[in-house]
């Protein structure tokens, strides 16, 4: 990747030259159709894919609250909540009086002390931005480019201006080592199980567990979603060496 995040193979299309033929049109899936009918569903789908569920939820809740107040937030929760459990959780918290999101980094920085490479699995833009700011600049931060939703990874990574590097699923083990750690985002914990993004299951294998010094879960929700978290997966908390929870 270049400094601007563009793949090196991208070539300039010259004026007057033929353009590559457009790809065949794809059909809309039943799920996309359902989300599309939800008014802001497609918008939230896009936002959550590139910002993360929590960051996108706060963006939507803040904006709707500014324009339509509590009634608007309640409507948003009723309309999109059943499809997006994290949005439901954030909107409910907002309606219960939590009007600001705070991202604390003391504990995660403490947990990552001594590491030279941090591989982030999953995307929460607010948390990743904060981590990039507070972590020792000598520590490399990698972001695994895997997500079930469609993501413009170039756009995502351009925001970090080289501070965060894109790492694909096939080569993430190049980041392993005695001073390396994996950080993933945890969306609530219920007894011994935690909700994580499916990317974490793609990365975690018995071989990987021993290749990294720490496998840290960074909690981004103050509790488990009430509604079935369809974009998330459950895994055992014991898969993680540490869970950082400063959400309360």
């Amino acid at each position: 990747m270049s400094s601007s995040g563009r793949p090196a193979s991208v070539r300039i299309r010259l004026l007057g030259a033929p353009s590559a033929p457009a790809p065949p049109a794809s059909e809309v899936t039943i799920e996309e159709r359902a989300i599309g009918r939800l008014g802001l569903g497609a918008a939230f789908e896009l936002a959550s894919a590139e910002l993360g569920f929590v960051t996108a939820s706060w963006l939507f809740v803040d904006e709707i609250a500014r324009l339509s107040g509590e009634d608007g937030v309640a409507s948003l929760r009723d309309e999109l909540g059943p499809m997006f459990s994290v949005l439901d959780f954030v909107a409910t918290e907002w309606l219960q009086g939590k009007r600001e999101r705070s991202i604390r980094t003391d504990a995660i920085v403490q947990a990552l002390t001594g590491t030279r490479r941090v591989l982030v699995v999953g995307l929460e833009a607010g948390h990743l931005d904060a981590l990039g700011r507070v972590l020792d600049p000598a520590t490399r931060i990698g972001l695994v480019a895997y997500r079930l939703q469609k993501v413009d990874w170039k756009r995502v990574i351009d925001n970090y201006r080289g501070r965060v590097e894109l790492v694909d699923l096939a080569s993430f083990q190049g980041w392993a080592g005695a001073r390396s750690a994996i950080v993933t985002f945890v969306y609530g914990m219920r007894e011994t199980r935690v909700n994580v993004l499916s990317a974490f299951l793609r990365v975690m294998g018995s071989d990987v567990r021993t290749q990294f010094r720490d496998i840290i879960g960074w909690s981004v929700l103050s509790g488990p979603p009430e509604i079935y978290p369809r974009y998330l997966v459950e895994t055992l908390a014991t898969e993680l060496t540490d869970i950082i929870d400063e959400t309360r």
Partner: protein, 442 residues
């Protein structure tokens, strides 16, 4: 016989490359090779002679302008402009078409609009996705942007291939083209924007539009939160670019320092600000495929030119029993339709030869600017003919636009037709009007 064979090779090749775009390079290179062989066999000169006739300066100019656009991308100019334009448009249906239409017209007048569109279109598509835009809104918003790109490209001698070809061949000087083409394209873009506004006003009053617009602006700020202008780089590039524009404007077209040389030296000075990026851009981002495509076209057209076919066509046109003004109008209509079918590159390369003959009997400036405007009209007729059409189609498909009714919203050949027909008629009318006024005044 040579004329028949070589013209057949040219026509068949152009038809085949349009019909089978996935085999385009094989087809045009085979056509060029066949032309060289046939020309050599019939005694019209082999590849050495035909390659010597290729306007290499045009290719140099295209490559250098592409590299300069890429340098501005590195400075984050287009990303920042796109986000600012989104704020300015207030993300309203009419606002998007107007602000982005004007922005793309201005950008395309100075730079490679394909490079700019790759960065600007995703921002527009996000707004359309968040707003749950209807098919009509998507069609007219994206269609307007594409036509604005075409018109911007025709506004200046460095905006698009037809004008660059005129400049590179010395058919017109930089200033002569600019003062004639820019006002005409401004009139055309104004017409298109008025039509788009009238169509898009119906989408303006939808329920929940204000909320959607606010969310799309907020979302764009978040998605592009790291997009900050690299001021020093952009300042340096701007200074160099202004100096290049001054050289193109002030230096005589027939002098020793030609337009391509200005581009060549200028872009290297521009890239010197970031040597590592410059080296990488030259090595990896120049499209060899495009250079070969245009080279093959020039070879085939050169072979046909040597047989005198273009002179014959032009003579046929000028011997029609109608006034010269009507002959020119017929030629412009022919150019528009041919460009609509075969796209700007092939049609301009071939029809410029006919125009060159016409220009010996009619005022050259009127003929050449009319030609460039008609090529622009043809480029705007079908999505496949628009320079950036397939790119816009591809990016739209990837965005998966879904309307409020849950149906997929598309932007393909069929959807573009209404915008294309309106634009074709508007631009052709401007071209014909320009030529008739020009003939009356000269």
């Amino acid at each position: 016989m040579a004329a028949l064979v070589l013209t057949s090779i040219l026509v068949v090749t152009i038809v085949l490359q349009a019909r089978f775009p996935t085999r385009r390079m094989l087809i045009v290179l085979a056509g060029a090779g066949g032309s060289c062989l046939a020309s050599a066999v019939f005694g019209g000169g082999g590849s050495r002679e035909l390659l010597a006739d290729v306007p290499w300066d045009v290719l140099v100019l295209l490559v250098t302008l592409g590299l300069l656009s890429e340098a501005f991308v590195e400075g984050r100019l287009f990303a920042v402009l796109a986000v600012r334009a989104a704020e300015l448009s207030r993300a309203s249906p009419v606002g998007i078409a107007l602000v982005f239409g004007v922005a793309m017209y201005c950008i395309s007048a100075l730079m490679n609009n394909l490079t700019a569109l790759v960065l600007v279109l995703p921002v527009v598509l996000i707004i359309l996705k968040v707003s749950g835009a209807s098919q009509r809104q998507v069609t007219w918003t994206l269609g307007t942007l594409l036509v604005a790109c075409n018109l911007g490209g025709a506004a200046t001698p460095i905006g698009d291939f037809p004008a660059i070809l005129l400049l590179g061949r010395g058919a017109m000087s930089f200033t002569t083209y600019l003062v004639r083409a820019a006002p005409a394209t401004m009139v055309a873009v104004l017409i298109i924007l008025v039509v788009a506004t009238l169509v898009l006003r119906r989408s303006q009053g939808r329920v929940g539009n204000e909320v959607r617009a606010a969310i799309s602006r907020s979302l764009l700020r978040s998605l592009y939160r790291g997009a900050r202008l690299e001021r020093r780089l952009v300042l340096w590039l701007s200074i160099v670019f202004v100096a290049m524009l001054a050289a193109w404007t002030l230096l005589p077209a027939s002098g020793p320092i030609s337009a391509d040389l200005v581009g060549w030296v200028g872009v290297l000075i521009a890239l010197a600000a970031r040597p590592a990026f410059g080296e990488r851009a030259i090595r990896t981002r120049v499209d060899v495929e495009a250079v070969l495509f245009l080279l093959a076209l020039f070879v085939m057209v050169g072979a046909v030119r040597r047989t005198g076919v273009f002179t014959l066509v032009a003579s046929g046109l000028t011997s029609l029993p109608v006034p010269p003004s009507v002959q020119l109008v017929l030629f412009l209509l022919l150019v528009g339709v041919v460009t609509g079918v075969f796209s700007a590159g092939p049609s301009m390369a071939a029809l410029l030869e006919v125009a060159a003959v016409l220009a010996t009997r009619l005022p050259p400036n009127v003929v050449y600017v009319g030609l460039a405007l008609s090529v622009c009209a043809g480029s705007s007729l079908f999505l496949t003919a628009a320079t950036a059409g397939p790119l816009a189609q591809s990016l739209t498909e990837r965005t998966d636009l879904v309307g409020d009714d849950g149906a997929r919203v598309r932007f393909g050949f069929t959807q573009f037709v209404p915008v294309g027909v309106v634009s074709f008629v508007a631009i052709e009318l401007v071209a014909v009007g320009y030529c008739l006024i020009g003939l009356a005044l000269e």
